[in-house]
Symmetry: none
Subunit: 241 residues, 2 copies
Amino acid sequence: MANPTAALLVIGDEILSGRTRDANMYHLAGRLTAVGIDLKEVRVVSDEAQEIQEAVNALRGKFDHVFTSGGIGPTHDDITADNVAAAFGIGIDVREDAMEVLATNYPDGRASINEARMRMARIPDGARLINNPVSKAPGFSVENVHVMAGVPKIFEAMLDSLLPELAAGQPLLSETVRVDLPEGEVAGPLGEIAKVFADVSIGSYPFTTPQGLGSNVVMRGTDAARIAAATAQVRDAFGVK
Amino acid sequence: MANPTAALLVIGDEILSGRTRDANMYHLAGRLTAVGIDLKEVRVVSDEAQEIQEAVNALRGKFDHVFTSGGIGPTHDDITADNVAAAFGIGIDVREDAMEVLATNYPDGRASINEARMRMARIPDGARLINNPVSKAPGFSVENVHVMAGVPKIFEAMLDSLLPELAAGQPLLSETVRVDLPEGEVAGPLGEIAKVFADVSIGSYPFTTPQGLGSNVVMRGTDAARIAAATAQVRDAFGVK
């Protein structure tokens, strides 16, 4: 059976302007691969209502899961929650359960929740909250769309909360063979091996050392035996012990 | 007048699987911002023909420029060039000018260009080549789609070649001086020359040969006389005839 598929939607002008370096894509990719959910697409869009809604609707129809990152803080440009609700055509309002969770973040409890912070308790109707052990303000899931914070520490904590609930597939296994030859000399024999192992994804990634060019050949798949067989052929073809 | 808009399309299973951390998005974002081109969207898709074609066509209709990253090497999984051509509905074949450029990367010239390497000279009909001072294999532009390598060092060098043309609207001139010294020994004197020629963009790109490390020093700008003067100083400084 094929693994479930997923997309990541990063919402944030600060990424697109180059001010901030995104870290969530790399983290999510590694985590999903480990549990057997195939990350198939990533989009980064700006903090604009139409862009967010279009991307949410395009991706949620195409993949089993959509993870979003960013735009759920207290400031005026945090518009992700409202636009996820709009994409689904459902209502959104300050929700009691979210207020309760949020209040635990402040020594004074609810007294500390000003109007700006109250934005963080705006949750689309029927959404399930995602636990945020770092700063309390919850993420949420609407159907297959999982809305999380952009700050990497919080994104990662929310993902830890969420992942065990999602139906996972078979973990993706991989083997890497280091070949001390440039890609141009690896490509021919490798293409032949790839034809034989159609069920194993075989990729080649060049690297440079002071001694010259090399290629890391990576076999990926869910069947350990097939990966081992392909790896053996690659070692054989290039005389790697 | 509003700034031109742009999107980045990253093609690569190695990014989506979490094996490799993308670096080109952050670099491109900063560079575009600096020259006044607004990066509005980024997509990362897998090495699949339909995904690449759909993304190219969606993005090229929506933005003034589309930059792509990845999938133009010599191996069987490098399918970007063919799918960009397919997205435009134009032909693609090994092109003489690309072969000529590619041959300069090898001591034996064309004799070293085997069938796999020849893939890197496959260029869509009518495309303009993008200079690659690192490893020669060129990128290319078809209309507003600029196809570049995924390896960050090469992506950045190609962007250096391309960007001044887009931003300034003036043809960019360049001269390359091959220095058979590692970058660490070139950097000091080159920095002094760069201070004197503030109006010429001077870049250094390392390369590896069986004999050791070297540096391609590239002078870029719009003033031919200034480039010639800077080139003469570089030759002088490193004893290159």
